[in-house]
Amino acid sequence: MTIDIAIILTPFIMAALIPIFYRRLRKNMIGWVVLIIPVSLFLLLTTYIPRVAKGEVYSHTYEWIPSFNLNFTTYIDGLSLIFSLLITGVGSLVILYSIFYLSVKESLHHFYCYLLLFMGAMLGVVFSDNLMVLYAFWELTSVSSFLLIAFWHHRKASRAGARKSMTITVSGGVAMLVGFLMLYAMSGTFSIREIINNIDVISGHVLFIPALLLVLFGAFTKSAQFPFHIWLPDAMEAPTPVSSYLHSATMVKAGIYLVARFTPIFGGEMVWFWTITGVGLITLFWGSFNAVRQVDLKAILAYSTVSQLGLIMSLLGLGSVAVYLGYSTETVMYTQATFAALFHLINHSTFKGALFMMVGIVDHEIGTRDIRRLGGLMAILPFTFTIAIIGCFSMAGLPPFNGFLSKEMFFTAVLNITELNIFSIHNIGLLIPIVAWVASVFTFVYCLIIVSKTFLGSMKPDIVEKNPHEAPFGMLLPPFILIGLVITIFFFPNLLGEYILKPAMLSVYPTFPSAEEMTPHISAWHRINTELLMTLGVVVLGIILYRFLKYWSKIYRLFPKQWTLNAIYEKVITSSENISESITKRYMSGHLTHYFVYIYVSFVAIVAGTFIALDAFEWNPTNDAVIENYELILVFVMIFAAVAILFAKSRITTVLLNGVLGYSVAFFFVIFRAPDLALTQLVVESVTTALYLICFKFLAELKPERSTKRVKISNGLISVFVGATVTLIGLTVVNYDKFKSISSYFEDSYNLAGGKNIVNTILGDFRAFDTMLEVVVLFIAGLGVFALIKLKAKKGDVDIEN
């Protein structure tokens, strides 16, 4: 048990403990107790900063299922440290904020439980080196996000938003899993670092490009890239602290993490460059363009998050050319794009987190987030106004805030790339910087909208009546810490660059010799250059566009309603539901006989089919033991009972005859010296009979079956085939030699597993995984029966299913 695994596990342990202890606490105390976890993890992680800055990495492997190459390998390097600091740091602030934001009437224990679950899952994503473990944590973040979006599950919009985000991110996740399996097929390892070391072996493989695209699909859905961004605005139904944490600062950055992590593997490909840069730029433009038309403050922020994620994504795409070009003194300048991406990632988390908290305060104190109903709040919410103006100006890229620095670096990167003459970049030429610049103009416009429509102008009469007041100190503190960072980073950017970004650059470019060269000196003032002129242009054009907003906003009406991405998504979902319903209705007839036919026909087709195809049927009676008379008697008893069931007139007779069959099988187990099986069979048979007796009063009388001759014949044939298959396989397995026999394990069970009863060493040791999961399945089945019977609607009750 090492410290790195403990970091991942602590949130999960705390999440498991909350349901136990929350009743003993006063409701407003739960948040404070939970707050201990992220704060202490954050402090613990900060101790890694100086060591990681020296270039050290920490890795620890814990063997989980070594036989399948599944190891729980944690890996702390510069890249994962950035993300883990964001997860725990923003996490602490968000929990502090939630304590004051959420009313004690909410089911707070659920909220904090899900939040911790998310925190643990996210830490797992960034610290895992094993692809399968990473994938499991990845999906867990989707699940916890689903639970948090649907936190107010009595609202229809919350449920719909949760479902949408789940559908999109999980389908991306599954695609990513396929990509991971392809990587495993090519490299034979699940470890990311080992794949990076063997990159020459796999880069020429046929599956390389498909794996690349599938991994990107996962990253794009998670990071809300065009056209998968549509889930993010709907996810805003979540409580605002959740939006601030998951849907702006951490979870949506998981895709960016994945792209950065996989750059050493895929970075040299043209497809990688163009897909990421192209999708990133489109997302950047589309997000900012759409943010301008929104009227809900949270929706503006959601689209702005989409747009900023696109910006970071496109920077990572631009930075990947350095991997293609390889190391030389000229190519180092292209790594600056990646540096800018990581820098902006941190900056975005600071200002966007603060802005979401600002919107939360407005919503909490005023009761609405609709900018058409807001205005003039500067007088009553002065502190909140400060947060808004600093956050928005940083987002718009103005000095003296950190957004200015990273936006300048972004402009530098898009200008640099136009000079390259690879991947046919010259064909597109100036388009990359132009798109980037236009998107920045729109960013400036929506920043102005947020500030002026909410805080400037005159107050609406209904707000004045409510007599609102400034938020409590606890709600103001977290955003103030964040905007404090916004300003601090502007004045001391190189501290961040030196200690946090530099080691991360080495993780993205492991083949480059020194991190020093890849860490540019960030300064606010260069001289008057193209970047600065671009910023000035953004400001001037932005103000003009804002002034004349109502004249040009008509262009948004040009887009036909039925062709929006949301409408297409809805269409796909409803039509797939309808199609699957009609297919399912066709075979789910409600007749047990039909279901048995499906089961048996597929059983015979698959099992007997395989045996025939492999020509594996083999019967060699020479080694068989002599058949004793009493065995024959038992066989005839069973045959008699089985045939008699067919002709039984009442249910009790069938139950008893079935019992005869069961007990005779137990006899066989005794004869063939399998006492464990015999015991189990006897007890199971008795319990089944008891169950039958209990169920009797619910069962209808046996009625003679009325079916056509054809059905009867085909059913008869199916049963004969099933019987024949089972018998033939039983006779064949004795001589089957296609697989290596595993009996050596069982013969040596005492040395291998410490037990002499081989049945139990199989259950408890050799196949303990199966047993463990079977126990869980059994438990779930029991709960299912209980729920079906106890929780069904009583007669006359309203059907509450929806």
């Binding site: 814990y62 015991l679 209990i694």
Partner: protein, 140 residues
């Protein structure tokens, strides 16, 4: 109509001890001889079902006020917990260990961590079995 089941009740009073003892015996003997968590749990569970069938729900419940869903839940927790437990000793997931101890009265005994796992299996089987049968029989 009241069914006269004096014979059943009298027999069960004696037999139930034998069944429950057998269940416990099977549970512990499972390591080197026939038995084990699953069978032990099944026998104990069926003994309980027999009690419920012979006497009515209230009578049994008064003497054994367990919520069998929680028993099953505890079982799952034990089984998965013993699997996770090996993490803390830097051994692969689900590793089990065993050793010999000499006790004052009982003499030398073979102790293994697999017993915890098996106890989890047994409790889950008992809990689920009784839960299913009780909920079906309580249904109106």
């Amino acid at each position: 109509m009241k069914i006269n089941d004096v014979i059943l009740r009298t027999v069960v009073k004696g037999v139930i001890f034998i069944i429950l003892t057998l269940g416990v015996y099977l549970f512990f003997s499972g390591h080197n001889a026939p038995g084990g968590g699953f069978i032990g749990g099944l026998v104990l569970g069926s003994g309980l079902v027999l009690l419920y069938i012979t006497y009515d729900l209230e009578t049994v419940h008064k003497k054994m006020p367990f919520d069998f869903k929680k028993v099953a839940g505890l079982g799952v927790l034990l089984a998965t917990g013993s699997a996770i437990g090996s993490i803390f000793f830097d051994a692969p997931f689900l590793s089990q260990t065993d050793t010999y101890f000499t006790f004052p009265i009982l003499g030398e005994k073979h102790l293994t961590t697999v017993t915890v796992f098996e106890a989890g299996v047994a409790l889950t089987v008992i809990g689920t079995l009784v839960t299913i049968i009780l909920s079906i029989s309580e249904d109106e």
